[in-house]
């Protein structure tokens, strides 16, 4: 029977199964990550969000939810233009956050 809509699979993430170490390492290097309030200003202004959905907000949330591949994909198009830094109401140094995260990926410290 067709109801005109369907059920989508649950996207809930079981936080208990998530490895938070990468997020924690990031917070050590860029403590600003902890102060993100997920307002989305960064996503709204991002130069490449239209291209691959980059959003610092989603990067920070993704790390806490264990969506490491998605995060990596988002990071892989950032142009470091700094618009997100300029608009962030919490004054987070998002460029530093992105660069440090790019370094942590694949480094011993950030190993998953």
């Amino acid at each position: 029977m067709d109801f005109g809509f369907s059920l989508s699979p649950s996207s809930a993430v079981n936080l208990d199964n998530t490895d938070m170490s990468l997020y924690e390492r990031l917070c050590e290097r860029e403590p600003g990550a902890k102060t993100c309030m997920a307002c989305g200003s960064c996503s709204a202004t991002c130069t490449v969000s239209a291209i691959n959905g980059m959003s610092v907000r989603k990067v920070i949330l993704g790390l806490q939810r264990g969506q490491f591949r998605d995060v990596e994909k988002m990071l892989s198009r950032c142009m470091l233009c700094g618009k997100c830094t300029m608009v962030c109401p919490r004054g987070i140094n998002t460029r530093h956050l992105i660069l440090e995260l790019c370094r942590l990926y694949g480094s011993k410290e950030g190993e998953l």
Partner: protein, 602 residues
């Protein structure tokens, strides 16, 4: 003149000879090492420049003016200039005159390289050598000059404020050994020559002293120990030189020809970079100049400390210092040696390994295809101008008023120019962005690329190859339109505006006059306390990777204070990033030059 000793030798010369042989071989070895480290193309370029008469002449002239006379330092601070040039030039002259004396009077001894230094010990004056009086006079004269410099140096050590510096660096232990031996050399020389002046001859300084000493001392007995002390002081100085900041003396002589050959820093430790950080004498001028130094905790992040850490190989601090810098370029502008602090840091940033390496190969330039027909002016607002839409709006309005047909490269936002990426040291990503943007610009068929953001402007100028396309910043473009009468503006006599030189536009691209001329056509132009090459970064720079928002606040406030010395009604700048950064804290309006012109035009 005749010789006092047939052998032409005395054991007291040994400390000097040993020190000299050591320092010369050290420098020779170091120089060869650096030449080996240079990339092949650079080495060729350098060697070629040494056999090109034009660059060679320039090398000699620059070495003379910078290493001996210290012209740049004179311009900056005459007291410090005198201090350095009296010692350097005076010492050079004493060595030169020493050689001249030997050549004139005892040419057979010229192969003994200690002879010109200790000439007065080895000779006795005779009736026939009165012509030597001129040389003796000059010798005393230059010795006096050096001594006056030494006195100043001692005063500077004790109280740096007297010579007009707020902050100066702390010397290390070996630096101190070098310093004190340098201070000792010249008073000892004066004593030596005075003790022997009645034998070897002297002039206005040494002869009277000789007379005084003879009233109560047995000259002969005191002479030899003093000459020993003089030789030891020289020997100690030469021996510690490579391990102290005095290494800057030989380094700078290599730095100048390398720079004149047109080399760039490619590796943060090797080759050209190495010569640069060894050429820093630690004068500390860059400390007061650095905008970060308004915060006490950032004092040690200035270029002088980067140089020190690079010499010591302190990796952790090198990384920290490299990331913090705003890349404003002011330290290079004030440095009389020309150490390129930001370039050293940039080279360090390029060394990093990342686990995620962005790439843009799947971005289709077609997506950013420029619409707008046959207009020849292409306006690229850039990321920063998109965040300060008022500026973009004013630019478009001014273009319309002047009747200049144009098209937009990034009406809905475009790609980044690549400079922020470049300043993070990611070369491959920068190259890709440049390639993409070049495609878009070439396909648009424009002949002029108009930019609002100096950050973009600089990379378009320096790194893009857009032959046949004029790259122009809007401040220059509108100034031209005003001068050509295409844009009519109203001068408001009661409006007083202070102009801020953005780092990337001013020091970065050398544009100082056009924006000023444009501002003067609509208002009374006021200058900041420190302006042009010495303008102070707004604090918003994308060059710094690790300075966070709160820490930049003090920098912005200091820069604002500097802009308000003449109590302006408003501040005008030529950079969207400066405009937005200042606006966060300024009590008076801060506008971009385009906005100011737009308000005053019809």
């Amino acid at each position: 003149m005749r010789e006092r000793f047939a052998s032409g030798f005395d054991p007291f010369v040994i400390p000097f000879v040993l020190g000299m042989v050591f320092v010369l071989s050290y420098c020779l070895f170091g120089m060869i090492r650096i030449l080996v480290q240079l990339p092949k193309a650079d080495r060729r370029k350098f060697l070629l420049s040494l056999v090109t008469p034009k660059t060679l002449l320039k090398d000699i002239k620059d070495i003379f003016l910078n290493c001996l006379i210290h012209v740049k330092l004179w311009k900056r601070n005459p007291v410090l200039g005198y201090m350095h040039s009296s010692i350097a030039f005076g010492w050079f002259m004493i060595i030169l005159l020493g050689h001249l004396e030997v050549m004139l009077f005892l040419p057979e001894r010229i192969h003994l390289f200690y002879y010109p230094i200790f000439f007065n010990y080895f000779v006795a004056e005779t009736e026939t050598t009165l012509q030597g009086a001129v040389l003796f006079f000059l010798m005393d004269f230059f010795l006096l000059m050096i001594l006056s410099g030494i006195v100043l140096a001692i005063i500077k050590r004790v109280r740096s404020r007297i010579v007009g510096m707020r902050r100066t660096t702390n010397p290390s232990f070996l630096d101190r050994v070098g310093l004190y031996s340098l201070w000792a050399i010249f008073p000892l020389r004066l004593l030596c020559e005075s003790f022997t002046a009645h034998i070897s001859g002297g002039s206005f300084l040494t002869l009277p002293m000789n007379w005084i000493f003879r009233q109560f001392l047995g000259n002969e007995l005191n002479a030899l120990p003093t000459w020993w002390a003089y030789s030891i002081a020289l020997g100690v100085f030469m021996t510690v030189l490579p391990f102290t900041r005095y290494m800057h003396i030989p380094s700078e002589m290599l730095l100048i020809p390398l720079r004149n050959a047109g080399l760039h820093i490619l590796h943060p430790r090797k080759g050209f970079a190495r010569v640069q950080f060894y050429s820093c004498p630690g004068c500390g001028v860059c400390i007061d100049a650095c905008p970060m130094s308004v915060r006490k905790e950032n004092l040690k992040d200035c270029t002088v400390y980067l140089n020190r850490q690079l010499r010591r190989g302190n990796e952790k601090r090198i990384e920290e210092i490299s990331d913090k810098c705003l890349m404003c370029g002011k330290c290079t502008a004030v440095c009389q040696v020309g150490v390129q602090g930001p370039e050293l840091r940039l080279a360090q940033r390029t060394m990093r390994n990342y686990g995620v390496n962005p790439h843009y190969s799947d971005i289709d330039p077609e997506r950013f295809r420029v619409e707008g027909g046959s207009a020849k002016v292409l306006y690229f607002a850039g990321c920063m101008t998109h965040l300060t839409p008022g500026i973009g709006k004013s630019v478009r309005s001014l273009l319309d008023k002047a009747g200049v047909p144009f098209k937009m490269m990034d009406p809905e936002g475009g790609l980044c120019c690549g400079r922020p990426m470049m300043m993070a040291g990611r070369k491959e990503q920068t190259r890709e962005l440049i390639r993409l943007n070049t495609d878009i610009i070439r396909n648009s068929g424009c002949t002029t690329l108009l930019l609002s953001c100096p950050i973009c402007y600089r990379i378009f100028k320096e790194r893009y190859s857009l032959d046949g396309i004029r790259i122009v910043h809007h401040s220059v473009f509108f100034d031209e339109l005003i001068k050509q009468g295409k844009l009519s503006v109203q001068h408001n006599d009661s409006l007083r505006l202070a102009y801020h030189d953005p780092c990337e536009l001013g020091r970065g691209c050398g544009i100082y006059d056009e924006p000023r001329s444009a501002v003067s056509s609509v208002a009374e132009l006021l200058e900041a306390g420190k302006n042009r090459e010495e303008s102070i970064c707004c604090g918003g720079s994308l060059g710094s990777l690790s300075l966070n928002f709160e820490k930049r606040k003090d920098i912005t406030l200091a820069s604002l204070k500097n802009l308000c010395v003449e109590d302006p009604d408003g501040i005008v700048t030529a950079c969207p990033l400066c405009q937005s950064t200042f606006s966060n804290y300024s009590d008076i309006p801060v506008q971009d030059i385009a906005q100011v012109l737009d308000n005053a035009s019809s």
